[in-house]
């Protein structure tokens, strides 16, 4: 808890700097916002002047920043230039899809990467271990959007076993929204048809996204396990007759958990860029696709709100990783 408190001032400073940077972007936007707000081409000079006053654009820059911050803290990011809805409503509608995708991806890469890393450390030098490094360089060299397209070709076009776009088959009614995560909501509603359909739609995008973090999680797990496999307490555990899996998993993995949890957390943050790309490949209706569409339409309020939100999420995830250390490692408490 003290660590959180100690980091709080820095976090506040960082968030202020980030919001100032986004505000600076609003100042750099092409076009006169008062002209646009007054209705564009047909606006008279009086209408433009009126709009300027109404938007506070005639005030000093720091007042404008204060206004921007006040609105942002109240969740007011203006209206989308495309659908005229408040941007915050769109963000609220689209974020669960992104969260579901990112969480599924990190779960897949942890579920594969951690056992893989443990196995290759336990059998260091054997064939599996020797495949890890070249394998991770190989996978890490693939452009993820290209890998995604190739996966669509194989699993949708050729094998026809998985859907290639969206979260649900068109025509299927989504379950009542509780968490916004379709897998959870469909289970809550006991609707197995929707659950299976949502799962089928999630498999390809989440697997492709998981490739980004898989290699790093595997390599860090392997390194962390190698570091502790020769520790005395593992020898003691063996000496008192514990089975080898128990030694490795209970006494080994647990003590290697700090770097592993750290890398999983950092990778979750790193996924943000990948989410944008993956959603574009698979027409996944999340924030990433929303942002890319906004960029296409030059929908500036939407772009800037997404930028602010994504950056804050990124910063908070990284902070959470820092704060998690002492919970896992009692030596770091105090």
């Amino acid at each position: 808890m003290t660590l959180v408190l100690r980091r709080l001032p820095l976090l506040v400073l960082l968030l202020a700097a980030i919001s100032a940077a986004v505000f600076a972007l609003t100042q750099a936007l092409p076009g006169d916002p008062a002209f646009i707000a007054a209705g564009g081409g047909d606006a008279t000079p009086e209408m433009i002047a009126h709009a300027r006053e109404r938007l506070g654009l005639d005030r000093p820059l720091w007042v404008q920043y204060a206004l921007y911050m006040r609105n942002a803290l109240a969740g007011d990011f203006g209206r989308s230039l495309v659908n005229r809805k408040p941007v915050i409503e769109d963000l609220a509608a689209f974020w669960p899809a992104s969260a579901e995708l990112a969480l599924a991806a990190i779960a897949i890469s942890a579920a594969i990467g951690i056992p893989l890393g443990v196995l290759s450390a336990v059998r260091a030098g054997r064939w599996l271990d020797r495949l890890i490094t070249p394998g991770s360089v190989f996978l890490g060299s693939m452009p993820i959007f290209w890998l995604g397209l190739m996966a669509v070709l194989v699993f949708y076009r050729v094998l026809d076993v998985l859907p290639a776009a969206g979260r649900l088959t068109v025509g299927l009614a989504p379950p009542p929204a509780v968490t916004g995560l379709l897998l959870v909501d469909s289970l809550l509603a006991r609707d197995l048809t929707v659950f299976a359909d949502a799962l089928a739609h999630l498999v390809l995008p989440a697997s492709i996204l998981s490739v980004i973090s898989l290699a790093m999680i595997t390599r860090v797990t392997r390194a962390a396990m190698l570091d502790i496999l020769h520790e005395d307490y593992l020898r003691t555990a063996r000496a008192k007759g514990l089975s080898e899996p128990r030694v490795v998993l209970k006494h080994g993995l647990r003590n290697a958990s700090v770097p592993i949890v750290t890398v999983v957390g950092i990778q979750l943050g790193q996924l943000i860029g990948g989410v944008v790309v993956t959603e574009t490949i698979f027409s996944w209706p999340g924030l990433g696709l929303y942002a890319v569409t906004a960029v296409e339409n030059q929908d500036y309020p939407a772009i800037l709100a997404f930028t602010l939100l994504a950056t804050v999420v990124y910063v908070v995830i990284n902070l959470a990783v820092d704060v998690l250390y002492p919970l896992l490692d009692p030596r770091m408490r105090g």
């Binding site: 400073l13 960082l14 700097a17 980030i18 940077a21 986004v22 972007l25 750099a28 936007l29 092409p30 020797r130 070249p134 360089v137 190989f138 890490g140 060299s141 693939m142 452009p143 993820i144 959007f145 290209w146 397209l149 190739m150 669509v152 070709l153 949708y156 076009r157 790093m216 390599r219 860090v220 390194a223 770097p259 890398v263 950092i266 943050g269 943000i272 860029g273 944008v276 790309v277 574009t280 490949i281 942002a291 890319v292 906004a294 960029v295 296409e296 030059q298 500036y300 772009i303 800037l304 997404f306 930028t307 994504a310 950056t311 990124y314 910063v315 990284n318």
Partner: protein
């Protein structure tokens, strides 16, 4: 490396060709070098690889599968995909290399100054780099290009805005490591000016980890720039940049799969080559670092 292990164990293994040490990393290193040599040649002289005009439109020949006349098929305007891949090497690689060169130059300079400056300046400038590292790269590149305008050059600038900070921190750590070494003290005692010490003594002695990072980062730069093209803010048509080609090919993916496949394959092969050479460079120049430095990024 397995071969090195054998050599260290005392086995009298000698490369019969007496290659420089860098190239004694086995087949992958040689293949990667060959790939980059070919890619470099494509960048400098694409005419050596194809006589076709990458922008010659021939509607009658649109979307043809690979054949003898068109080894990688044709695109939606009947342009030869092989010619476009060959001519695409220049924009793709030049953008990635200039992005890294720009970030490296700005970051190293900043890091040199931060590391050599006093405690207060150091503290303040480190906070500044922390700010830039706190920005997710693709998200900010999207935001910046939507304000500055699309295109490959703006993408390079937008990514450099966040990238330089990584080099600044790496360079600072290096400077702090050598600042109090004897040769620096000696040249100061000899009365050399501070900036001269910085450039002549600190810089050269800090550079190998920075160079290793730069090599690996070129591969990352190719991937990120291609991703930005895929998202629509990068290279604009008709420029045959590889990422942009995959993007357009995506529209024809299900019926004409070769179109998106080959430019993406080109990205993959070149990125793989840069990664292999980067790892090799690390083994040769900077054996102590390794996984941990990359994991901490």
């Amino acid at each position: 490396m397995a071969t090195e292990g054998a050599a260290a164990a005392g086995a009298p293994i000698r490369s019969p060709m007496r290659l420089p040490r860098f190239f004694r990393g086995g087949t992958p290193v040689l293949l990667a070098t060959a790939v980059l040599a070919i890619a470099g040649l494509m960048t400098l002289a694409p005419e050596l690889f194809t006589r076709r005009d990458p922008n010659a439109i021939a509607y009658l020949e649109r979307l043809q599968p690979p054949s003898l006349a068109h080894p990688l098929g044709t695109d939606e305007n009947g342009r030869d995909v092989w010619a476009r891949v060959v001519h695409g090497a220049r924009p793709t690689l030049a953008a990635a290399v200039s992005l890294i060169a720009l970030s490296l130059a700005a970051g190293s300079l900043a890091g040199l100054v931060i590391g050599a400056a006093g405690r207060r300046t150091d503290e303040a400038l480190m906070r500044v780099t922390e700010f830039f590292l706190a920005l997710p790269q693709i998200v900010w590149a999207l935001a910046l290009t939507s304000v500055m305008g699309r295109g490959l050059v703006n993408c390079v600038l937008a990514l450099a805005v966040t990238w330089w900070a990584q080099y600044a921190r790496l360079m600072r750590a290096q400077v702090l490591g050598v600042r109090h070494r004897e040769f620096v003290l000696a040249s100061r005692a000899l009365g050399q000016r501070e900036w001269r010490i910085l450039l002549r003594h600190l810089l050269p002695n800090c550079f190998s980890p920075v160079l290793v990072k730069a090599t690996i980062d070129v591969s990352l730069a190719i991937l990120l720039l291609a991703a930005l093209s895929f998202l629509g803010v990068g290279a604009q048509p008709p420029l045959p940049e590889w990422g942009a080609m995959v993007t357009i090919g995506r529209k024809y993916l299900l019926d004409y799969p070769w179109y998106a496949t080959f430019p993406g394959l080109a990205i993959f092969v070149v990125v793989l080559a840069f990664n292999i050479l980067g790892e090799r460079l690390r083994d040769v120049l900077d054996p102590a670092s390794g996984l941990h430095e990359r994991a901490g990024r």
